[in-house]
Amino acid sequence: MKTIHRQTIAIMAAGLLLATGAQAQEQAATSAPARKQIAVYDSRSPLYERTPYFRTFFNIDWQLKGTINNDIASGFNGWGASLEGGYYLTPHWGLGLFASYHTNEEYVPRTTFAWHDVALTTDQVHTLYQLPFGVTARYRFWSGTLMPYVGVKAGAEYARATTYINGSGYYNTSWGFFVSPEVGMEVHPFKRAKFGFHVAAYYDYATNDNTLLWYEANGLNNFGVRVGIAF
């Protein structure tokens, strides 16, 4: 568990570094004459003159995730969160880092498992913990109060499948490659303020093999939504 926390903190630290670096670049780009400006305007945007064009993006989200064809834990729930931040290299193309975590859980009713000369009867609680992190790229269609985008995340995923039987946990951890296409939108209802809201729908796939006991989980397919804040 401490290892997971250390990894998460390291990822978040990387995110913070990115944020700090991006801010420094933003500051340099806007330089002295525009120092007090909180945003510049995109002359190529149809919403020019009315809405700001932000060079950086940060999203902190509550995450809901459902698994697809996963024997460890099925269902759709909201035990997760996501953090990402980046910088728009152009008015449309942004690049950054992300990290998220999620736990899917399922109660498995009392069942008898028999193999060869052995049989076991028990009920179980299954959990599947996923922690992907890496780089994110997004294409923003336009800047304005509503800023829709499409994006893709890619990186590594740490996953841990655990079955709790009779008070003891048996687990299988794995690492894999992670990829996730996403569509989303930032909503900035406040004039000249970067604070806003964020919503996204995503699919993700990781090559992790978390097969455990009699439960197949080779290749993790998920879908879900994220809802949070943007700034």
Partner: protein, 212 residues
């Protein structure tokens, strides 16, 4: 503004790192885990009778043999007998008359075994543990399968022995079936006893091959 953003990100990072969900173990039904193994070469129909002692060996902190002999112990032994009766076996009055023997052991504490040598089976050297000599003229135990017992407290071990096997100092007393029933104590003796009895029922339920 920059400071605020930094603080917000730091808070978010801390939240991400610390908010792993704990499993909801309250969802578990509280019944005992039941694990059984058998020697697949056993011809059950070749056996007709069985013997179950009316006491249960307690594996705990004591360094002298301690047996559980009260009404609760008898109830568990009677549950075993009832299931064997249902499968067509006849209860013998003495172990000498029986084809099968069933020995019951209850693990009340694991403290004694923490530093114990585990060769070949950790419970063998517990003082007062069921001995082949208790059952007859056998030199040692013989398991037809690998055994994976747990060290958990509040466990009931059941072992069924083939008393029709050849005897002799060099002969093994074959263990043809065993069961391991385990779960937490609730603090309510009657409730725990009922769960243990249901565990015995389940052990036979998942061993349909035990049939005369």
């Amino acid at each position: 503004m920059k400071k605020k953003r930094f603080i917000l990100l730091a808070a978010a990072a801390a939240a991400l790192a610390s908010c792993q969900k704990n499993p909801d173990l309250e969802a578990l039904d509280g019944e005992y885990l039941v694990y059984t193994q058998c020697d697949t070469t056993t011809e059950w129909t070749a056996h007709a009778s069985y013997f179950v002692p009316d006491s249960i060996l307690v594996i705990g902190n004591s360094e002298t043999p301690l047996y559980w002999k009260d009404g609760d112990a008898r109830k568990l032994a009677e549950t075993v007998a009832a299931r064997l009766d249902e499968r067509g076996f006849t209860r013998a009055a003495t172990k000498e008359e029986a084809d099968l023997g069933v020995q019951l052991s209850y693990v009340s504490s694991t403290r004694f075994f923490v530093s114990y040598p585990v060769t070949p089976y950790w419970w063998w050297y517990y003082p007062g543990y069921w001995d082949p000599y208790y059952w007859g003229a056998w030199g040692t135990w013989g398991y037809g399968f690998p055994v994976y017992y747990s060290y958990s407290e509040n466990s009931l071990l059941m072992e069924m022995l083939d008393l029709a096997a050849p005897t002799g100092e060099d002969e093994e007393l074959p263990v043809v079936w065993n069961a391991y029933i385990d779960g937490d104590l609730s603090g309510y003796r009657v409730f725990d006893l009922e769960r243990m009895a249901r565990g015995i029922d389940q052990a036979f339920e998942q061993s349909p091959y035990i049939q005369k």
